[in-house]
Structures are given as structure tokens and as C-alpha cells.
Amino acid sequence: MSELIIENVTKKYGKNLVLDDVSLKLIQGHCYGLLGRNGAGKSTLINIIMQRCPRKGGKILLDGKPVDNNDMLLSRMFCMSDSAVYPAEFKLKTIFSITAAMYPSFDTDYAKKLAELFGLDLKKRVGKLSTGYNTIYKVILALASNADFIFLDEPVLGIDVNQRETFYRELARKMSESGSCFVVSTHIIEEMQNLIDTVIILHKGKILLCDETENLMTAYISVTGKAELVNSFTADKEVIGCESMSLFKTALIKGVPDDIPEGLTSETVNLQKLFYFLTGGAPDLP
């Protein structure tokens, strides 16, 4: 299994520290969820890994070798990116051919089948695409790339429910067939929960946590009840976040207690809720 290692990567835009000494290990055959709030540094991290923007210090190694200026290694990595890479007047089928020429493992037949599934007209010019189809054509290129490491940056941006479900199904198919490593950044965490086996939370330029999805979901629990009961119960526990509604309170705690006292109810937390609390909740008006 190939490994992509990111070691001590730092990035500044002017005085703004976007990535602060980030280290990560990505292993083939896994699907990582790269989660973070807007401005957390997700896209910057992906762009740095793909050598699309310069970094300050650190290393990026694929199977132990630096990927810097190494076209052989870079062709084993594919990224769908936000920024428009191709001139607006290019037709999609031209872009498909260019990608096929650049990536020897690109599966043109599969890409054409996906275009049909998603209802994408390959005769269209890339500049004329709607927001949704602008995402879709890049998702198709990524899924058909068959690269060893595939980065999907906001793959469901602007696309409808039916198309999202098609994407999730094809992602599951590709994962079980190809053994590629997928790194997916998304805000629609709930829908991706069953597809990502490992969660990376990037917060304010640092890795807040990196753990298996299942470990995370069983490591925390939420308790709800009368505020005073919740407070006394959680006094000696690690509280990650809370929310109140009149006399009631919900607290997310780390660790699963042996028993829950009368009057309190406990609940498993899903990934989205966990992310929400870990990254500061939603502050209310004062």
C-alpha cells in the first residue's frame, strides 16, 4: 500500500498563517474526510499537496520520495479543484482527451458513462456550465482518473440530491474496485459519514484531530436533561460543547460513562454534530 506523507507543512498568505505545521499520513485504500469550517485551510492544504502553490518548509513524500517537481509521482495524484483550470471556450470532450493524455490510468469509457448518468453534455463549453455541472464535470474526471491518490474538494457543491446520491454510489464503487485513496473535503458531513473511514478535522490551520470515524462516534456521547442535572453530572467530565433551551441543556462529553442518572437521556452523536461542537458551535446573538 502506497503512503503519502505530509510533514510539517506551513503556509502564510502575507501575515496570515493559513497552515501551521501540518503533518498527515494518507494510506491507499482509505477514504478520508477532510473537514473544516470555511477558511480552515482545507483547499490550501490540497493545493500544496498537489504542488499548485508554494509552501514554506516541510516535506511531501509519496512512498518515501519527495513529490516536488517529480512528474512521475504527481501523475499518481489527481485533484478536482475549485479554480477554473481550463479556458472557458474549451469543450468538455477536449478536456476529457487532455486528461486522458496526462493521466495514463484515466478511464475514458467510464468517464463517458458517468457523464450520461449525471446528464452532462460533453459538447458543451466549460465556461457555459452551471454551478452544479461545473462541479460534476470535475468529479467525473476525478472518479475516472484511477490515480492512487484522489482529492475531491467540495465534490457536492451546488449539485442536486439525485446527483449527490449518484456520486456517493460511484465513490463507493470506485473505492471497493480500485483501492485508490480518496480525500474528500465537504460541508455536507452527514451524507458522507458512511463513506469516510477516517476523519481529519482542520481547524484554524492546525490538525484538530485525525481518527477513524467509528472511534470518533463511540468516543463521545451527548446527554440531555434539566440544566442543573446536566451540570452536576458533567462537572467531573470533559465537556466539548453545550446548548441550552429554556430549563434544558444538552452537553457533549468525551468518554462514555458507565451509567446515566435518572432524568438524563444519552444519545450517540453523529459526525456532523461532533464536528459542530468541536469547532465552536453556532454562537448566538448576545
Binding site: 454510489r169 463507493a172 464503487r173 471497493s176 458512511n194 469516510i196 473511514d197 456521547i221 451509567d259 450517540t268
Partner: protein, 121 residues
């Protein structure tokens, strides 16, 4: 210990497979869908699917034939029944009685309702 894994995808898939074996959708000695098919149909990570399947293989409910696929083992139905019967009290009776108490339903009334439930089957 508070129950904290019922929401996990591998537990849900394991229960689905057991339910379908109990219902006879996958009879003993017949093949079940492959890991890839299950991943695609349920839109699940293949590692999750492997985990569910391996738990059932360890429990001798499924067995693998190399290069062919996965099959339902002989005696799988009775194994699942025994296991589920063991969980029945903690999983259903405890919560039913607590809800009944909350609503002021007596043990006697609850028994009568249970009998009625059986009759209506």
C-alpha cells in the same frame, strides 16, 4: 455502560444481513452479495462492509469460498435466533416496561396487550 454503537454503519449492516437471513431472503448454503455489491447498494465504505461481513464469518453465520464469494452457513438461522433471544430482554422488554410505567400501564394490562398482539398476528 451506555449503549453507544447502535448508530454505527457496520452494526446496522450486520443486523440487516441477519434480518434477511432470518426472513429467508438468503437461505442457508446460498451466496450473498459481494462486498463490492453491498458497498455500492448501501453507499458504504468497503472497509465498513468488510467489518460487518467478518463479524458474521467469525460467528460462523457466513463462510467464505475462496475466489467464489460469501455463503450463508448451515445452522445460521438458529445461531441468529439464539443470539437475538439473548438480547431480547435488554433490547425490548426493559424499554417497553419503562414506557408502560411512564404511562401508568400496569403489568397485568401489559400482559393482556401482549396476548392481544399475539392473537392479531
Amino acid at each position: 455502560m451506555a449503549q453507544n454503537n447502535d448508530q454505527l454503519a457496520y452494526i446496522k449492516l450486520k443486523e440487516w444481513l441477519e434480518d434477511e437471513i432470518l426472513a429467508g431472503s438468503f437461505p442457508e448454503n446460498t451466496q450473498i452479495p459481494s462486498v463490492a455489491e453491498l458497498s455500492v447498494s448501501f453507499k458504504l465504505n468497503h472497509i465498513t462492509v468488510l467489518k460487518s461481513v467478518n463479524l458474521l464469518v467469525d460467528a460462523e453465520i457466513l463462510f467464505k469460498k475462496r475466489g467464489v464469494g460469501m455463503f450463508v452457513a448451515e445452522g445460521a438461522v438458529s445461531k441468529i435466533r439464539t443470539e437475538r433471544q439473548g438480547e431480547f430482554y435488554s433490547k425490548y422488554i426493559v424499554s417497553m416496561v419503562s414506557e408502560a410505567k411512564k404511562l401508568g400501564i400496569s403489568a397485568d394490562e401489559l400482559l393482556k396487550m401482549t396476548e392481544r398482539g399475539y392473537e392479531n398476528e
